[in-house]
C-alpha cells in the first residue's frame, strides 16, 4: 500500500496518531476518531485504502460483528486480514481498519446496513455477505423494505462483486437477487414477523417447510448451495460438517457460521480448514463473555431488537436458571422502547427474573402484561447479589450491555 498518494499517506498517519491518543485517553479503541480525521484530510481515503485488496463486506440486522469475526478467523490461512473487529461499522471504522493493516491483501469489514451501498461503491468489495433483515430501532434505523431496495440497486451496479446471502430470509433474498453472481446459503430464519409479504409485489408469501414462495408473482426461495440443518452444514457437493465444536452458542451462531464457511470457501479456504479456526472463537466484543464476580458466573448476552431477543432466549440456561434483563433507550439503543412489545417474554415464566436499566419501568410494564414474575432493581449489582452463587444470564440492549461490561472489568 506504499503507493498511496502523499496526501493519503498523511491522512493515514494522522488518523493513526489520533486513534492512539484516543486509546491513551481511555476513550475506546480510537477507530472512529482516527477514521474521521483521515477522511477529513482525504475524502477519497476509503477508496484508496481499499484499492487492489480483496474485501468482504458483512451486513445484516443481527450477527454482523460475530460473523465478521468468524470469517476473519476462517481466513487466517490467507495471511494478514484487515478487519474492524470492534463493531465500528461505518466508513470511519473501515478507514481505520484498513489503515491499521496497510499490507493486508484481504479485509473483512462489518458494515452498517444503511452504508452498504456507499461502502460497496467506494471499496468495490469482492464479496458482500448478507444474513438477515428485521425490524430494528426505527427512530434511528431505516425501514427495512427501503433498505433492501437500496441493496438491490447497489448490487446491480456492482457486477464484479459476488454475493453470499441467506435465502431463508425473503427480504435478504430480494435485496441480494439483483447481483450478477450469488451463492445462496440456507442459513435459517427464526424471526418471521417481517416476512409475511412478498418484497417484490406485496402478495402473500406461502411457506412450506423451509421453502417459501409468493402466491401472486414468481418470486420464490432460490435453491441453496450451502444448507444449515440443525447442527450440521452441507457444502456444495454434498459433504456435511458438524458445527458442534463451535464455542459460540445457539442457532443464530450456527447460522452465522454457515455464512462464514461459504465466504471462506469462496476464497479457497475449505471447511476442513476453516471450521477448526472458527471453533476457537469464544466471545466477540464482549458478547457471550462470562465474568466471575462474587462467586457468580455472569454471562452477557446482547439483544437489540425482537429478532435478537429470540436468539438470546435460545441460548439461556434452562429454567429455572435466573435471568437479569437491562434496557436503556439512549441514542444507540433507539429512544423508543415500543419494540419490547414485539418480544414474547412469556418464555421467561417459571424463572427468577430481574429487570433493570434506565428504562426498567418499560420492561416492568411489559413483563407484567406477559404475566412473568419479576423484581425491579436499580442496577445490575442488585440483581447479581440477589441470585444465589452460580450462573446468571444477563440480556441487555446496546448501551446497557456496554455499561455492564465496563462494570465487570471489560473482559473480552
Amino acid at each position: 500500500m506504499s503507493d498511496l498518494p502523499l496526501r493519503a499517506q498523511m491522512a493515514v498517519a494522522l488518523g493513526r496518531t489520533a486513534a492512539k491518543m484516543s486509546r491513551l485517553a481511555g476513550r475506546g479503541d480510537g477507530s472512529v476518531i482516527g477514521g474521521r480525521i483521515g477522511l477529513k484530510l482525504d475524502p477519497e481515503l476509503l477508496a484508496r485504502l481499499a484499492k487492489d485488496r480483496k474485501l468482504v463486506l458483512v451486513s445484516a440486522t443481527n450477527g454482523k460483528t460475530t460473523t465478521t469475526r468468524l470469517i476473519t478467523a476462517a481466513m487466517t490461512p490467507l495471511g494478514e486480514i484487515a478487519t474492524n473487529a470492534f463493531g465500528a461499522n461505518m466508513p470511519t471504522g473501515h478507514v481505520s481498519a484498513l489503515a491499521a493493516a496497510l499490507d493486508a491483501e484481504y479485509g473483512v469489514l462489518e458494515c452498517d446496513e444503511k452504508y452498504v451501498p456507499m461502502v460497496l461503491k467506494q471499496t468495490e468489495a469482492s464479496v458482500v455477505a448478507l444474513m438477515n433483515l428485521s425490524r430494528d430501532q426505527m427512530d434511528r434505523a431505516a425501514e427495512i423494505w427501503l433498505l433492501a431496495g437500496k441493496w438491490r440497486k447497489a448490487l446491480e451496479a456492482a457486477p464484479n462483486t459476488h454475493v453470499i446471502a441467506n435465502c431463508d430470509d425473503p427480504l435478504v433474498t430480494w435485496g441480494a437477487s439483483s447481483a450478477k453472481s450469488v451463492t445462496w446459503v440456507a442459513a435459517g430464519q427464526h424471526w418471521r414477523e417481517d416476512s409475511w409479504s412478498c418484497p417484490e409485489c406485496g402478495g402473500p408469501l406461502d411457506r412450506e417447510g423451509t421453502n417459501w414462495e409468493c402466491r401472486e408473482c414468481s418470486f420464490a426461495r432460490p435453491k441453496p448451495a450451502w444448507i444449515l440443518h440443525g447442527e450440521r452444514v452441507t457444502a456444495p457437493g454434498g459433504r456435511t460438517y458438524e458445527l458442534t465444536g463451535l464455542q459460540l452458542p445457539g442457532r443464530a451462531n450456527r447460522s452465522n457460521a454457515a455464512i462464514a464457511l461459504a465466504v471462506a470457501s469462496y476464497f479457497g479456504v475449505e471447511p476442513e480448514t476453516a471450521l477448526p479456526l472458527m471453533t476457537q472463537v469464544k466471545s466477540v466484543a464482549g458478547r457471550y463473555t462470562t465474568v466471575e464476580h462474587q462467586d457468580r458466573t455472569i454471562r452477557l448476552l446482547l439483544a437489540k431488537n425482537p429478532a435478537g431477543w429470540l436468539e438470546a432466549f435460545d441460548v439461556l440456561q434452562p429454567a429455572p436458571g435466573p435471568v437479569a434483563l437491562s434496557i436503556n433507550a439512549q441514542v444507540p439503543d433507539g429512544r423508543d422502547t415500543s419494540w419490547l412489545w414485539d418480544v414474547d417474554y412469556r418464555i421467561l415464566r417459571g424463572r427468577p427474573v430481574w429487570a433493570t436499566g434506565e428504562r426498567r419501568l418499560d420492561l416492568a410494564a411489559r413483563l407484567e402484561a406477559a404475566e412473568v414474575d419479576f423484581t425491579v432493581v436499580d442496577d445490575i449489582d442488585q440483581a447479581v447479589m440477589a441470585v444465589p452463587p452460580g450462573h446468571l444470564d444477563v440480556i441487555a440492549n446496546y448501551t446497557a450491555f456496554q455499561h455492564i461490561r465496563t462494570r465487570y472489568g471489560r473482559v473480552v
Binding site: 409475511w196 423508543d336 418499560d362 406477559a370
Partner: protein, 237 residues
C-alpha cells in the same frame, strides 16, 4: 355481543405491524380479563377477509408501501366499513391512522386514496417528527393526558366530521397543534405502536365503548401507571 365478552380484531399484522403494535391487543385483553370480561382476539392477515362481527378493530403502523397495499385491500374487502356501520370501535395508530382518512401521502408523497372512515386528509410534511408526544385529551372523552412516542413525516388536516383527540403539549402530532382525531367510536393517533400501554385511560375508553358501558370497575395500580408517570415527568420537566 354479550356484555361480558369482547372480540378484538387485529387488522393486517402482516402489513401494519412495525413498532410493537401488538401491545394494544395485549393491553385491551389484559384490562378486560382483570375485570372478568373474556376476550377473543383474531389476527386477520391481508389475504383473509376482515370479519364484520368484531367489537374492537386495531390497526398498526407500517412503511409507505405496506400502508398503500393495506388501504387497497381494506377498500376491496369492505369488512372494516361494514363493521363500522354495525357500530364497532376502531383504534388506529400512525400509518393506520392516516389510512382511515380520505387521503394520505405515498412513497413519493403522491396522494393515495384512504378508507374514508375518518374525515381527515394526510400528506407528507417537511420534517420527520421523532420523539415523545404528550397531549391533553378532548374533555368530552374524560381521559387523562396522553403520553406516547411518535415517528412519522405526516401532516394531517382535520375535516369538520371529526374532532381532535388531543391538544399537543409536547411533540408534533397532526402538525397544527392538535393530535389524533376521532368521530363516534373511530379513533386514530400519531402515538405509534403500543399507544395504550402508557394510557390505560384510553384503553378503558375503548373497552367502555365496546361494552356500551359508562363505567368500568377500577383496577389496582399497575407498572403501566408508574411508567406513565415517569415518562410524563421525563418529558415535561
Amino acid at each position: 355481543m354479550s356484555s361480558d365478552s369482547i372480540k378484538i380484531v387485529w387488522v393486517y399484522p402482516d402489513l401494519l405491524s412495525t413498532y410493537g403494535d401488538q401491545g394494544n391487543c395485549i393491553v385491551l385483553e389484559r384490562r378486560a380479563r382483570l375485570r372478568g370480561i373474556s376476550t377473543r382476539t383474531v389476527h386477520v392477515r391481508s389475504d383473509e377477509n376482515v370479519p364484520v362481527d368484531g367489537d374492537i378493530y386495531l390497526l398498526g403502523g407500517g412503511e409507505d408501501r405496506p400502508q398503500i397495499l393495506a388501504a387497497r385491500r381494506l377498500r376491496n374487502d369492505g369488512g372494516l366499513h361494514r363493521a363500522r356501520e354495525f357500530g364497532a370501535v376502531i383504534f388506529a395508530v400512525c400509518a393506520g391512522y392516516q389510512l382511515l382518512g380520505t387521503e394520505f401521502g405515498g412513497e413519493e408523497g403522491q396522494p393515495v386514496e384512504g378508507l374514508g372512515l375518518l374525515d381527515i386528509r394526510s400528506g407528507r410534511g417537511e420534517k420527520r417528527a421523532v420523539g415523545e408526544i404528550v397531549g391533553d385529551v378532548d374533555p368530552a372523552l374524560n381521559v387523562p393526558r396522553i403520553t406516547g412516542f411518535e415517528n412519522h413525516q405526516g401532516v394531517t388536516h382535520l375535516g369538520p366530521g371529526v374532532k381532535p383527540l388531543a391538544t399537543v403539549v409536547h411533540g408534533v402530532g397532526n402538525g397544527d397543534g392538535t393530535e389524533g382525531a376521532y368521530a363516534d367510536h373511530v379513533m386514530g393517533t400519531y402515538m405509534h405502536g403500543p399507544a395504550l400501554v402508557r394510557n390505560p385511560g384510553l384503553a378503558d375508553l375503548l373497552l367502555r365503548w365496546a361494552l356500551k358501558r359508562d363505567e368500568l370497575p377500577p383496577l389496582p395500580e399497575s407498572w403501566s401507571e408508574r411508567l406513565r408517570e415517569e415518562r410524563l415527568n421525563a418529558v415535561l420537566s
